[in-house]
Amino acid sequence: MSVELFVFVVAGGACLAGAVGVIASTNPVHAALSLVGTLFGIAVLFVAQEANFLAAVQVIVYAGAIVVLFLFVIMLLGVDRYDDLEVEPLVGQRVAAAVVSLGILALTFGAIASTGYDATGAVVGFDEDVPDINRLGESLFTDYLFAFEITSILLVIAIVGSVLMSRRGRRGEEIVDPGQEERTEEIAERMDEAERRAHPELYVGNGRRRGDGEAADADEADAEPEEVGR
């Protein structure tokens, strides 16, 4: 087994295993860690294809920043609870999703197979002696200079947008949840009821109506003979 094949099998296997882990994990933390596996596998495949600089950037930016940002948000909000994957939220959703993604797979496979599994195109050819980072820098700052400048605008927009979305209101954070007040009242009533059942002697003769429920009547009946006996 050649080294190239070995690297491809190991890194590609890590990529696929990580990808399956992302979509099959019930816990978002496990999904984020599986994503790290995929990103590292891709970085190794970048090195195998002589994109050394991009491999380093892939590890630093993706595994070092983006996944950490994901984990940070998960921990900050405390949403690392387990999702229920048994229940299908919409009937037939998974079948439809499988059809769509298998369609995408078939399209891409068809495109690859139509070339006879041999990528074609005009080979540009570059100087093998120049390191890839030099070639990349030259390309970015000559051919793609305008696009490179536009990415700075994109980043500014992203910063402004994220600050706008995530800042708290001036009056502090209000819980905006329809039905929240009703639920709070209902919970308070239930707690009162449980309190009365637990300590019926505190409430006897406290203005409580008769016929509130059989359990309440039984509690009163239990409580009265004691007083009679005293």
Binding site: I23, I42, A51, D83, I112, Y144, I159, V176, D177
Partner: protein, 105 residues
């Protein structure tokens, strides 16, 4: 026989196609907004792998330049997307993708 196998660019393209379709499947079936974002990252990475493969095959640095732009776009997308998710999950910690309407107004 295995030793005779040679890794051709098509192998990388097939791997990229597999990763992309796994990511799209996860994006469509999962309801946790955080996991849906991770699936988008999977799809972006599948595309960058394809670009690097073509850059290597055709000996053209343009493919690698595109990967740099994809990285920038992915970083911006994650920042804005996570800000939206934080705003959403702060209102209701068990929110799913169906509850994005909570952010109205």
């Amino acid at each position: 026989m295995i030793a005779a196998l040679e890794v051709t660019p098509a192998w990388y393209l097939v791997l990229g196609a597999l990763l992309f379709s796994i990511g799209s499947f996860g994006l469509l079936i999962r309801r946790n907004p955080l996991v849906m974002f991770m699936c988008v990252e999977l799809m972006l990475n599948a595309v960058t792998l394809t670009f690097v493969t073509f850059a290597h095959t055709l000996e053209d640095t343009a493919g690698q330049s595109v990967v740099v732009f994809v990285l920038v776009v992915a970083a911006a997308e994650v920042v804005v997307g996570l800000a939206i998710i934080v705003a959403l999950l702060r209102k209701r910690p068990d929110a799913t993708a169906d509850d994005v309407a909570l952010l109205e107004g």
